[in-house]
Symmetry: D2
Subunit: 418 residues, 4 copies
């Protein structure tokens, strides 16, 4: 199978290549097509990818493409990992909301909306190209905000599934804490992308979450950046992104003191590109682990393998709600365990969601509807409405101020804001 990676010039790609090399039995690939408009960067990354595959004895060809069309031509799956506007735009996502006292984050809150505004139009164009050049291919979206982007794709009739590494990271982490193989771990993962709670953790089907928390609440809480009491009280494991809600003001205080994550990543990327440029280097650099996105390649391989091989196993993905969460519209995109097969993802039934999570999920899902409307149809008013709908913003002054700022700062990436 040919696999196309849009945004293939990312410093991140070697993580993916490493996974393809290690898991070649699971997902045999004949060609990895890297698509990126930045030719210089792409050549460095592609060179590194070739050396890594060579070292692993993997037979796949790595091809380089400036244009999406030729890149996705005939592909069996297309992975989206692009970043419209690069780290510079991310830096704005992370700092500009602070001007209004709101958390600066590239997937949550105002920054996440800005990213959706920039990303959705580009992704939809790419998907049209995929439809033309690789009609049956699955589009696996790893580009944030995954929930909104996936819904945009599904609304246009594309064969798309959204992917995130939060669940797989939880699975591996719990396996390590419990000292069991990760394959034995099942997750009661529920919510929206970057707004999820693990309400159940099983080992070979046996519930272990209460015992896990009894023993490891402190370390789990530290990892997700929440106070221990909240993890103990709730009896569930919120994802790290809940920190932006439950600890909003504290995060703002921290962000006021620390430099932005984008600034850190930008520095890291330069170092990574230097490594990739070295013709002698053929193994994934350790620094890449700090770049974010752990287990992303495992998740991607597993998902594509199950889609291609109709395996029918359970994976956590972003897919249409249907009747899974009765308090959300059927068209909403949710993040839950689903059976993955040739026809896509079928969410498993989910036990009734407690009001503490249900209320927030419903609120953020409604925001996502408005965010997608703004991304697709543009206009300051739609942007403002989406901000007013977001539980971390929700005020008229903030919505006004942030809308004007977001649009001004992202004008170059907003087709409607010329």
């Amino acid at each position: 199978m040919k696999l196309a990676v849009v945004g293939g010039g990312s410093t991140y790609t070697p993580e993916l290549i490493d996974g393809f090399a290690r898991l070649r039995e699971e997902l045999p690939l004949s060609e990895i097509a890297l698509v990126d408009p930045d030719a210089h960067r792409l050549s460095l990354v592609a060179g590194m990818a070739r050396r890594m595959l060579a070292r692993a004895g993997h037979p796949a060809a790595v091809t380089e493409h400036a244009e999406v069309g030729p890149g996705v031509e005939g592909a069996g799956a297309v992975l989206l990992q692009l970043r419209v506007g690069g780290q510079a735009a991310r830096n704005v996502d992370e700092t500009l909301p602070l001007e209004c006292g709101c958390v600066g984050q590239e997937t949550t809150g105002a920054g996440g909306l800005a990213k959706a505004l920039r990303t959705v139009p580009v992704v939809l164009e790419i998907a049209e190209e995929v439809r033309r050049r690789a009609p049956g291919a699955w589009i696996v979206d790893f580009t944030n905000p995954v929930g909104i982007v996936t819904r945009a794709l599904l609304d246009e009739g594309h064969r798309a599934i959204g992917l995130c590494n939060v669940a797989i990271g939880m699975q591996r982490r719990f396996a390590a804490l419990l000292d069991v193989p990760w394959q034995s771990i099942g997750l009661g993962h529920v919510g929206l992308n970057h707004l999820t709670w693990e309400r159940s953790v099983t080992v070979d089907g046996r519930e272990v979450l209460p015992a896990l928390l009894e023993e490891h609440a402190a370390s789990i809480a530290a990892e997700v950046g929440l106070p221990e009491w909240i993890v103990r009280d709730l009896g569930v494991v919120p994802s790290y992104y809940l920190r932006y809600f439950y600890e909003h003001d504290n995060v703002v205080e921290e962000q006021r003191v620390k430099p932005s994550r984008a600034a850190e990543v930008a520095a890291m990327e330069q170092t990574l590109l230097d490594v990739y440029a070295d013709p002698a280097s053929d193994t994934k650099p350790e620094l890449l682990a700090k770049r974010g996105g752990a287990y992303y390649s495992e998740a991607a391989v597993a998902l594509i393998a199950s889609l291609a091989g109709d395996r029918g196993d359970v994976q956590v993905v972003n897919a249409r709600n249907g009747a899974t969460l009765p308090f959300l519209p059927p068209e909403a995109v949710i993040e839950v365990p689903a059976v993955i097969g040739a026809s896509g993802a079928a969410p498993l039934p989910v036990p009734a969601v407690e009001p503490l999570y249900r209320g927030l999920i419903a609120n953020v899902s409604a925001y996502e509807e408005l965010a997608l409307d703004a991304a697709r149809n543009g206009g300051e008013r739609r942007v403002r409405d989406a901000l007013l709908a977001h539980p971390l913003i929700g005020q008229s002054d903030l919505a006004t101020g942030l809308a004007a700022r977001l649009i001004a700062a992202n004008r170059a990436h907003l087709p409607w804001a010329v």
Copy 2:
């Protein structure tokens, strides 16, 4: 019919009496039983009530009761307008949340939760007494937070309907702006108690909201305390209570400068009691208009008359959701137009709710579930969870700090917090 008013010693009662007198054709009453533990206050108010009825030539007897049992004995309807803890407790509701940077209000946010915690146990006891002494009687709840209190009553199988004067006030206000009789005005009122939007205003069935806003957006916005642009952009009329959401931080700033509403009302009440003590006074004092609760007597008379007379007209009330709003559980209590008859309130169908309102309604409704759980079952953890679920609070530190403060300050009124 005998009507019992629990909290009958309120300075407010003459407003109600005035309505009974004016609308006696609509709702013929033989006895008005005022129930209040404060005998001195009750005697002043009852005296005033008798003089007002006498002046109007109304034949009803006004009786005074320290205990609920005798007061509600044989009543056809029981009106709840009590205030557990009085203006002093209200003052705490309005000032204590400010210590944590949150809006201080007696029905919204942390103050509303405190009021629910104090009120629900008392109301449920009263309702048991009503069940024993006046088995078929309707309980009409005007005591805030009306949504939570009404659900508490319904969950226990009482014949209860929640009543608020927001919708009737909107109706009268729009009638004045449009210069039409208020009876011709229909409202597309939707949401939860104190969290509603008028999405439609009709005159004799004809939609006039766009025209109304075109001409009167500025004055309507001023009345509901919101910026004009938000009213124009949304194209609907949010209730005044949305101000605590859309303008949260601005309200906090204002509350930092101004004295609390409770302090104002306490001063007003003293003046009113002086009037009531005057044996010569037999008409509703003008000051009462500033006390809040305009049109409350009209709303109460209309509701009781329709329940008693099986009139089948449409009134805005608080009742079980059922299938009305599909994004809320059937047991949730919502505030919408409903057909009122001998068997209670049957909500009319509601057009699909836009995501901007739907998300917030769902979030606050989920909070109300947790608030009711805390009020019924007690415990700092339940209080904290309810606060964490509230979109105006939602942070772990705030939930912790407010829970401890609310419980400490309301200890005398919390059966479980001895």
Copy 3:
């Protein structure tokens, strides 16, 4: 010598008695007159004091007085340690400013102003009584805010010195860290009461501060509640009270989560009174160490002994500025090392104060002038001006809101606010 302690019924007094017992060589006392309007509490504390002195073989009589006049009659020194309004008023000082987003503290910011308003009139009345009944006696003020109270006394021509335990605590702490006798430690202590920096620490005259910070910055920073970097960067040791300035918003966040210090102390006091009521108890309870005020008795004994014995040693006290700090008016009261003799305290020369400290000292000293004016002359406008002058408040809205709140909550203790 007879020593009178006004506020002698404090749960604190046994700390003082313990010092008198241990240091009897230094300060021989024939009578300790405890003055307190709360007769019950006074009798418990006086009983405890007598048992402690008996156990130590100290010959002094302990007398109890409800009135100041008889209590101070013929005293050689009068110690002021009263608390107008008790822990309840303190609780207001600590929580009410939070309503406006300001730190709640009983000596700094709005809480400190409230305490000044309550305290100054009472202290001035006491001082007049001292002038009549014990004309040559020194008044040693330990009642906060010490700087403002001391200036009030000096402005009226009383023989007064202000005393605080911050400097003596620093001295003992540095001695422990350096493992030298505390008597060998000299402090370059400068500023106003509760707004001081140690710019020099000497051992037998040799400067050791740089070395001390080199080795112990982390533990010193932790003790004064500041980040280590700030202690290292400044190269001086700010007092714990600078935390309310340098970490203002963080302290507000903490106070939002935690109960007030007054609530803690109130609980502690009940336990202490139970101990004092036990006829078998004759030693200072360990809990007293947590009550605050460590080394207070040492400081008081040393000061009174030097005043009485004209010892001419150097102690850190609150006294008139004169020409010591050229950027403050001569009448300002400052807290610096001074030579203590029969004629009072003569501040030692102070090296030029760096602008980082000078600006804040000048600002707070100007506030203190206005605070004293408000305390002496009353009126909402003077209160507002003092708040507007305070660097932690300084805004018109906050000054308005806090002035109204402070006056309303302290009305019972403000002679001019009837």
Copy 4:
């Protein structure tokens, strides 16, 4: 006399030229040398200046210079009105502090510090050139922050005076309100640049301030952006810049909603440049009045005329404190009325400053010392110390976060931050 204007390519210059034309009797000029590195802009402005002078029949030559040296060669006076980094840097000054919840302003607070860091090194280089090429020339500094820049110049022994249009604007405004000639108005202006209060307003020597406020407090308060009560209570007229102190949080709220002033000015400048490029335009465009800096040309002409003509009249300027304000060091630069003659400015005596103003002046003056130290000697630590000393910042977290941000955003203009 030759007058050199450094930053002569400013869109502002025609304002100055208009004054030179109108007031040619007062200040006869033979050459106006405009110095600016932006040749295109300079040519547009110089062309406009020539046409304006021609229209007025003014004989002065307008010369254009890219370099300071030739521009100031032989000048009698040098006017500094440059802006290092242009409107882009100003935009950062106005928005970046908001990320930390602090007011964004180009002369006050963190933005003012950033401007000082950028400006002082450039101005000192220019001044050295003036010393070489025009040894006796007076340097009149209109570049902000005027207080810090003037002190930097004086500390290096330059013949410098700082100029601001706040006082002259007050004078003209009061004259209009009182309907008297502006020449008859005397001001009791005191403080630091952009931190001043008018404590006296005289007409021909007669005090009229109380009467002025009695009648016009509302309109004066509106103009300086403060609540009327504060102007009435204080009985003085604070400058508009006090708004950033007395109304700090409200200004932050406003700035969150509105676009930055820099963005407005940038738009305005483009329009102005279009006008200047039009060969037919020869009169000051009306839009210029909105650009800021009203009466600046009058102030500049008056000051240079008095310096050159040794007139000995009184003007409000920025000069060394000496013994004028005893609570500030003699080297501090203050803004007060001074006698202007050939030897410069001699401040008039100032009545004792009330503590409400004195404390803030002393605090900000101390900050200015540290700001100048940071501007001259560089380093993150000095920047942090200056921020910690500023009464609008003053917290360790804010100082850390703002220092890192200011340096990162202004790196290109900071010689020490490569």
